[in-house]
Amino acid sequence: MSVVTNTTTIGAIELPSRRNTELLLLAFAVVIPIFAYANVGLSIHGKLPPGMLTYGLGLGVLAGLAHLVVRRYAKYADPLLLPIATLLNGLGLVIIYRLDQSERLQNLAKRQFGGFTESAPRQMMYTALALALFAVVLLVLKDHRVLQRFTYISMAASLVLLILPVVPGLGADVFGAKIWISVGGFSIQPGEFAKIVIAIFFAGYLMVKRDALALASRRFMGLYLPRGRDLGPILMIWAMSLLVLVFENDLGTSLLFFGMFVIMLYVATERTSWIVIGLLMSIGGAVVVGTTASHVKVRVTAWLDPFACYSKSGACEQVGQSIMSFGSGGVLGTGWGQGNSDLIGFAANSDFIFSTVGEELGLSGVMAFLLLYGLIIERGVRTALAARDPFGKLFAIGLSGAFSLQIFVVAGGVMGLIPLTGMTMPFLASGGSSVLANWVLIAILIRISDTARRPAPAPAPSPDSEMTQVVRPS
């Protein structure tokens, strides 16, 4: 046999697992919040804050454990998701701690509720719980495709989760929005979890129905119009999100669900007409509800001109204070602990937490935060591109779409770009449900990206590969 030299063989190059990159970034992501924590203590009390060691060690140990779980159970996962989520969560803890130190807020709480409790220790506990849940999801969910089996169950589950807050006796009406339920002294926000569960339904449903939705259509004025009967699902989701809006007074959740469905529909069918139809429907719904529902009307008035009704309505005052805190932050901010964002009042560490970033870190800090969120979304979309199965693709797109809509809705609300909606900034805002749900979301994205980047197993040698070998008697 002649010697074949210099051949080009086409082979798979094994992707690096990038776990060490993740560990380095994670260490960096733990150091930054500790720096911020020290900074808050120095600027407010003039000395290093107590519990700095506990706080730093706690965050470090939690992040380290999460890293070990990823290293063991999702070796090829994306290296950026965990460090960025850790950084955002750590900085959220610092902002909540900083607002706990505000005397204004302490007095306000004493006046309104008869006592003041610090939110930071509770938030730290929720973070620990959330990271435990993160590990459990990675341990239990070995392959995201098993979720596909629960397509219709998850539809029912998400409907139940959405309806729960309106159930009498279970739901709790907090400042006009009925999005909480109280179980045994804890208040839970089921909408946060419904966001993940409904993504499973959308992904499973659209995977099966995408061809019918994409191909059976008429062309009209450059748009592909779907058949009447294919409009059924989008009309149903639209009606459902409107019902949520009307009965629970929750603009954010309804926007989130409808927007997520439209994004996934567009990705599944590649038809621009769905975006156009979705936008028209949401504008129509928003106008109707905005002019009729009183709770929403207050928000719209506060959005249109917060300073016209500043002294008359609490909603206007909050939005006005928030816009002023962004303004007084300027480009570089006032520095940790030196702003007056606590003037916003009781929602300063939940709905309006981003205003504190705007005031104390300035435009450059806000941009850095938005970029970090953007990076998480980018990794989610990248995961969807890399995923090999259509369910995983749609699921990853749905989750990152929901995440991005939530950030747009919250950040846009506190900056006065759109009416305020009462959702939580993922990882930053104080509240257990939000932290838990978002860490589950990150765990699922990590699982999908691990499956997507995992190198294919080597092909088994074919048994008849040598069948036509020449046998030369020698």
Partner: protein, 166 residues
């Protein structure tokens, strides 16, 4: 705390935060700019510095200037691999059922190492049968010696037909 310390800390924190963002973006640089491809094999127009490395490789023929009208790709036009193309880049292409072939033929009539296609010193592409059982056909004639491939001529191996195209 003095004003100066606080200002330094404020700016320092923003710098550290942005450093993290920049490092994170560096990690996914390959997503933004694509992976860097390093050319292996013989380098064209070698400078004086490249000389010692070249001596080790006797087999690589020095790449001639691409002739006008020379084929640039190999196209499978019939058989299970129809539509597959391989760019011709001055390197030997092997065909056969062996897994390390450039084109792995899934064909009962092909041998493990069936044929190879390589450029000779002046860039003309040659097809050579490697002692296969059922033979390699250029147009209608069975190959016995390495033969230059005329443009557009089909090379048949079992049920697979390949052509060189521009």
């Amino acid at each position: 705390m003095s004003e100066l310390t606080l200002t330094v800390m404020r700016l320092g924190f923003l710098a550290v935060l942005w450093l993290f963002v920049i490092v994170a973006v560096q990690v996914i640089r390959s997503d933004l700019f694509g992976t860097r491809v390093t050319q292996r094999g013989s380098r064209r127009g070698g400078g004086a510095g490249g000389a010692p490395q070249q001596t080790g490789r006797q087999s690589a023929p020095p790449q001639q200037r691409q002739r006008r009208g020379a084929p640039t790709k190999l196209v499978v036009s019939e058989g299970t691999l129809t539509g597959t193309t391989v760019a011709l880049s001055g390197q030997t292409i092997t065909l056969g059922r062996a897994h390390d072939s450039t084109i792995v033929l899934d064909d009962d009539y092909a041998s493990s190492r069936h044929a190879r296609i390589y450029p000779d010193t002046d860039g003309q592409w040659i097809v050579e049968d490697l002692g296969s059982t059922n033979g390699t056909y250029l147009d209608r004639t069975r190959l016995t010696t390495p033969t230059p491939i005329p443009p557009g001529a089909p090379i048949r191996i079992g049920k697979t037909v390949i052509e060189l195209r521009k």
